[in-house]
């Protein structure tokens, strides 16, 4: 059992997780982080990180299973596993860490603009619920490093313009494949499934470069 013998998984600090994703994840950006776990090889080198955090968007929190479950949602915000780890290392890392979370709904997104369809989520039994909505995010000149939800949360577009004036410009948000996992007992899974506000859809696949339903 090479993965279990050669790699260990432990909870790691916020700083260690952020440093690893900034250095290695394709986005090279910090992410919301409440729980972070690292995968270490036999000599103690960090070779993988998974980060779970509270999504910045209140719309997303309420939108999955309704306002009653808004405080029951984490987002898998970053997943990075070094190329030296066998391919199934990603699913091993997710599988081992889910049980340690204190919330039952886990949402994650695969970035279609980076040609990702989320095979790892498909292989790990996440429910596919389609692409995120087409949307333009307000950006503010001088605050480019911040997520729009941190300075525009709860504000309407008109209020953002009123607050930041002509520093506001608009950027089209890349659409992402949305995956949801119910990290709960069978009974709770059934309840959460009945509350799910998105329609479960067949997994998207890329066959010979073409994006299509399964």
């Amino acid at each position: 059992m090479a993965l279990a013998e050669n790699y260990s998984i432990e909870r790691i600090s916020y700083q260690m997780a952020q440093d690893a994703v900034i250095a290695n994840h394709y986005l090279h950006r910090k992410a919301p982080c409440t729980f972070a776990f690292g995968m270490f090889d036999s000599v103690g080198q960090l070779v993988g990180v998974v980060i779970y955090g509270v999504p910045a968007s209140s719309t997303l929190l309420k939108g999955i299973c309704g306002p009653d479950e808004a405080q029951n949602v984490y987002e898998l915000t970053r997943l990075w596993v070094d190329d030296s780890v066998p391919k199934n290392g990603e699913s091993w890392l997710i599988g081992q860490t889910l049980k340690q979370l204190d919330r039952e709904i886990v949402v994650s997104f695969a970035d279609s603009s980076a040609d990702h369809v989320g095979y790892v989520y498909q292989a790990t039994n996440f429910i596919y619920t389609g692409l995120s909505a087409k949307f333009k995010d307000p950006k503010v000149r001088g605050m480019e490093g911040q997520h729009h939800a941190s300075y525009a949360n709860g504000l309407t577009n008109a209020e953002v313009i009123e607050k930041f004036g002509d520093r506001v410009y608009w950027v089209e948000r890349p659409r992402k494949h949305r995956y949801i996992y119910f990290n709960a007992s069978k009974t709770r899974k059934r309840i959460l499934m009945s509350k799910l506000r998105y329609k479960p859809l067949p997994y998207p696949k890329i066959h010979a470069g073409v994006l299509e339903g399964k």
């Binding site: 199934n88 889910l98 603009s113 890349p174 659409r175 066959h207 010979a208």
Partner: protein, 69 residues
């Protein structure tokens, strides 16, 4: 990138790949993809067992891997 633009880019790439590879290679690719997916699923469930989940699916996956899958 817009999803329509992405889809168009993928279709063009598919046409190019279709010209380059034969049906046998395509079939092999699909078989390989399915094999990898099944392996990922197995390791996900085994990982759940290692992480403390105690359901039958997780237990069976862990045992299967322990036996050398």
């Amino acid at each position: 990138m817009d999803v329509e633009e992405l889809a168009c880019k993928m279709r063009l790439r598919a046409i190019k790949i279709e010209d380059e590879i034969g049906p046998n290679e395509r079939q092999q690719h699909l078989v390989e993809q399915e094999r990898l997916e099944a392996l990922q699923k197995l390791y996900f469930n085994a990982g759940r067992w290692a992480g403390g989940a105690r359901d039958r699916i997780a237990k069976e996956a862990y045992q299967k891997i322990a036996l050398g899958a």
